[in-house]
């Protein structure tokens, strides 16, 4: 005869407002096998937990049912309490009276009866529960960081400085990301490259960091602590061991008119190229899509001129496999291009540019060496209009969210413009100025008060070209409430920050979730901001949502700590909710007949063959299935496929589940 304790929680008023908790406890006390039942206002609190612990000791309970919130919330809490009182934690189960009852029904007789039924089902299950022990698995002490922008750089350095190994992969030929493209950064106006490039060098030189550029994640298998990552090292066509980075090849390459990605199409590059002078690694790669040799079969000019013989054509992509303990995804974001906006010219006006393009114009390393000159004719624009919220906060455009960084960078752009073009006139059309952040509002005020940037609250309906000018038609919605028309020389659109191309595909590769806009989803918006729903995979930076640099760096350090706290544990403790093949006395040994149907459908390759041998002769009596506890994820597919019902999930055995369901059916 079992001795189950039933503990009904009021959850403040969350449960007790609709469910008669006292009555549930009283009914429970009359159930078969229940030795003790009570209710309490906050079962998860310290006195509540003590109540459970004392009852276990006093009544010698051999099972506990807590009627409370979802097991996702407090199952670990109550199991820990039971364990402290000497009860095997897997003999404690939750009857979900909040999400399944009180939150979804109105107060009334039926609601309380449903609560009683659910408790009864769980009591029946716990009566059959077996004590289980957590599984310990080893951890591979190495982290994989995907994406070499500021988030990836920060996360890699933080992990490496904790003494753990890091592999950093970057799909482009250099690390640095969007931050390396920026001119000055708000709110201090310090030069972006000056604060970034030393860290890029540190990454390259850190003994704990292995950097693979021009590399992408091909496949990710395994689970927390024990991932297996297949990485595609795209052929650079240059042997980096021989290359000295002298740059002679890039000056000789005959293909010179390729729009430079680093300069957002405002400058040109060659087919063999280093994206920018401060690149890390500072060695070139061949862009096969534009290379004469790869496209037309002849040229080889770079090979002719290379003093060290480093050029190697026709080398295939290489694949490497690495054992990994934790993954941090830092793949960043992008901004919409101007061709997304029909009302602003659909990308056909050269002098309507994006904010990121303006960064390149304002940057000392940019195509104009930091002079603000418009792309069409190289003239210095005397009148410039900035339009914020292009796409952002506009459900009609499919982007209802705020891109967060634009208010600040637009203020910065206008400020930089005023600093560089003294007789220039700048106007910003805005919806709201969202300058939340340390020294942010002060920065915007400086733009208005010291640099005389003209802020107009209202939207721009249309930009069109007339007689060489861009006519900006908008509205001033404040006191004057008048239509505004400005003849501008250049227009800068603060286009929405969007998820990077390929984000969806990458998420599916890693089995992490993403939101409707393809930004990766965190496990909890407040309390687990850098975790994903897949254990062992963390997020940082703007791949999650648009973020500015301080926020990106903070989240990167946060994710790094999470990764390090995982890697620094000696072993990993896993829930023992895995499948097992039954065993029984000879001559049966197991009801398993060795059909290995389970092997064909197991998604985790966890099914192994075990030979049962005669102890004396060593002869094989029968071959049965065995489940590798390290690989099994407890999905239960094999259980439903097993023809002889020889497999069970520990903690959710057929017997336990049938008992629970039968209890619910036979009222």
């Amino acid at each position: 005869m079992s001795k189950i304790g039933v503990f009904i929680c009021h959850c403040g008023e969350n449960i007790s407002a609709t469910v008669d908790c006292e009555r549930v406890a009283k009914s429970a006390s009359e159930m078969e096998g229940v030795a003790f039942a009570t209710d309490y206002k906050y079962m998860c609190s310290d006195p509540g937990q003590s109540l459970i612990k004392n009852a276990i000791r006093e009544h010698h309970l051999d099972g506990v049912v807590v009627g409370s919130c979802s097991p996702r919330m407090h199952e670990p809490t109550f199991r820990r309490a039971c364990s402290e009182a000497g009860l095997n934690p897997y003999l404690c189960e939750i009857a979900n009276l909040r999400e399944h009852v009180s939150w979804v029904h109105e107060k009334g007789e039926a609601t309380t009866l449903k609560a009683i039924d659910i408790v009864k089902g769980v009591v029946e299950k716990v009566r059959r529960n077996k004590p289980l022990n957590a599984i310990e698995v080893p951890i591979t002490k190495k982290a994989l960081v995907i994406g070499g922008g500021i988030a990836g750089i920060q996360a890699s350095l933080d992990i490496a400085n904790c003494g753990q190994k890091v592999i950093l992969i970057e799909k482009g030929p250099s690390i640095g990301g969007h931050m390396s493209q920026l001119s000055e950064t708000f709110p201090t106006l310090d030069c972006s490259q000056c604060i970034l490039t030393p860290r890029m060098v540190e990454v390259a030189q850190h003994p704990n960091i292995t950097l693979y550029t021009y590399a992408e994640l091909d496949k990710l298998d395994g689970f927390i602590g024990n991932f297996k990552a297949t990485i595609r090292l795209k052929a650079k066509s240059v042997d980096y061991n021989k290359c000295t980075g002298c740059g002679l090849c890039t000056t000789k390459c005959p293909q010179k008119k390729i729009p430079s990605e680093f300069n957002e199409g405002l400058g040109l590059r060659t087919a063999i190229f280093t994206p920018f002078p401060q690149a890390v690694p500072n060695k070139p790669a061949i862009d096969k899509e534009h290379c004469n040799y790869y496209q037309k079969g002849k040229c080889k000019v770079c090979q002719k001129f290379c003093p060290t013989g480093a050029i190697e054509y026709d080398k295939p992509d290489e694949f490497i496999t690495e054992d990994i303990g934790a993954v941090i995804v830092t793949t960043g974001f992008n901004v919409l291009k101007t061709d997304f906006f029909p009302e602003y010219g659909y990308g056909k006006y050269k002098d309507v540019i994006t904010g990121l393009q303006f960064e390149r114009l304002a940057s000392a390393s940019g195509p104009t060496l930091g002079e603000i000159r418009r792309p069409s004719d190289g003239q210095i624009p005397k009148k410039i209009v900035f339009i914020s919220c292009c796409g952002s906060r506009d459900p009609a455009k499919g982007i209802p969210y705020c891109s967060k960084i634009c208010c600040m960078y637009t203020a910065k752009h206008a400020m930089l413009y005023q600093h560089k073009v003294h007789d220039g006139e700048s106007t910003i059309f805005y919806m709201d100025v969202r300058a939340g952040g340390k020294n942010y509002e002060e920065f915007v005020r400086r733009a208005v008060e010291e640099d005389h940037v003209n802020y107009v609250r209202g939207r721009v309906a249309r930009v069109y070209e007339k007689n060489g000018k861009l006519i900006v038609k908008g509205v001033d919605t404040l006191l004057s409430a008048k239509p505004v028309e400005i003849e501008a020389d250049m227009v800068v659109l603060a286009t929405a920050g969007v998820a990077n191309k390929g984000a969806e595909e990458l998420a599916q590769k890693m089995h992490i979730s993403y939101d409707p806009y393809h930004f990766f989803a965190e496990a909890h918006p407040k309390l687990k901001p850098v975790e994903t729903n897949t254990a062992g995979i963390f997020l940082a930076g703007a791949c999650q949502s648009p973020k500015d640099i301080p926020e990106t760096v903070a989240s990167a350090s946060g994710a790094a700590v999470k990764a390090v706290s995982l890697l620094s544990q000696p072993t990993l403790v896993r829930e023992p909710i895995i499948a097992v093949v039954n065993r029984c006395a000879p001559p049966m040994f197991s009801t398993c007949v060795g059909c290995f149907m389970c092997e064909t459908i197991c998604p985790y390759n966890a099914i192994e063959h075990e030979e049962i041998k005669d102890r004396r002769t060593g002869k094989v009596i029968k071959t049965v299935a065995k489940i590798n506890p390290g690989l099994c994820q407890g999905c239960g597919t094999c259980v439903s496929f097993c023809r002889s019902k020889s497999i069970d999930i520990q903690g959710y055995t057929n017997e336990e589940m049938f008992a629970e369901v039968t209890a619910l059916l036979n009222k």
Binding site: P342, E343, A396, R462, K466, K473
Partner: protein, 281 residues
């Protein structure tokens, strides 16, 4: 092929030539347009600003009649009528209770699943593919296609063309040999019904449109809305006065342009009815 036809008030009055040109064009492509018997006002301009129930009941009655008379599709050339009919259909399909109450006020029940086509959708669906073979006189002129505010709006209901930079009229005009200009006033407001209360404002707004088209060398402005047409055409003296010079760029309907291209006489298309004379096309 028989389709239902809802002329609305404009096509019987100020936009007679629009009616004539649609009716002249359809048979060339083997389509018979049959007026919905006993149709009523769509409520445009006024009803939706003052009484929501009325603004839905008026178009609903027409839709119900069309359904009863066995039409699967109706053609609604007037942009305002089209907008009211499409919005009413959408709103009533969204709200069962509202539909019931409207059915009560019009004393008819209906499925509300008739397909409503504006003139551009009608041409796209039934005429576009056959235009090339029927062209006898290429329309080789430079034109500005003017969409106005209602033709492609509200987008979530109409789901046709691009809201901010529509191209459907341009594509049709290019198909019959015209060159279309890139300009900034495709969807700007013409002043609409302020034509009655504030002619000064209409003169200003319509002037911006006509002047930009003329400045960029358009030989004609192509429209698909009677309201736009009357403002750009009938209000031309006020526009001329506002701009201080005479602009002689004519305003013609898309159906007239296509009609000319397939060889229908100008008289049949009602081209002589415009205030700004159409001499050059």
């Amino acid at each position: 092929m028989k389709l239902g036809f809802y002329p609305g008030c404009s096509l019987n009055g100020t936009a007679r030539e629009y009616n004539e040109s649609v009716k002249a064009l359809a048979p060339v492509f083997g389509i018979e347009l049959v007026d919905i018997d006993d149709w009523n006002c769509c409520g445009a301009s006024a009803a939706h600003a003052v009484n929501r129930d009325l603004s839905l009941a008026l178009p609903a009655r027409t839709l119900a009649l069309a359904e009863k008379q066995g039409f699967d599709e109706i053609v609604v050339p007037c942009a305002a009528c089209f907008n009211r009919l499409a919005v009413a259909q959408y709103e009533l399909n969204k709200d069962e209770l509202l539909k019931k109450s409207v059915e009560k006020s019009i004393d008819m029940t209906f499925n509300n699943d008739i397909k409503i086509l504006n003139v551009v959708q009608f041409i796209d669906k039934y005429i576009k593919d056959k235009i090339t073979e029927k062209i006898s006189h290429k329309f080789e002129h430079q034109v500005a296609c003017y969409y106005g505010c209602l033709l492609v709006r509200p987008h979530k209901i109409i789901g046709f063309d691009r809201v901010e930079d529509p191209t459907s009229l341009d594509e049709l005009m290019q198909l019959i040999g015209a060159t279309t200009i890139d300009w900034g006033f495709k969807t700007e407001c013409c002043g609409a019904s302020l034509s009655i209360a504030r002619t000064d404002l209409v003169a200003k707004l319509s002037c911006n449109i006509v002047k930009d088209a003329a400045d960029r060398g358009a030989e004609a402005i192509i429209v698909a809305c009677p309201m736009c047409h009357s403002n750009l055409d009938m209000r031309r003296p006020q526009i001329d006065e506002y701009v201080g010079k005479k602009i002689s760029t004519p305003v013609i309907y898309i159906t007239q342009a296509i009609g000319l291209a397939v060889g229908i006489t100008p008289e049949k298309l009602g081209l002589q009815r415009h205030f700004v004379k159409v001499n050059t096309l």
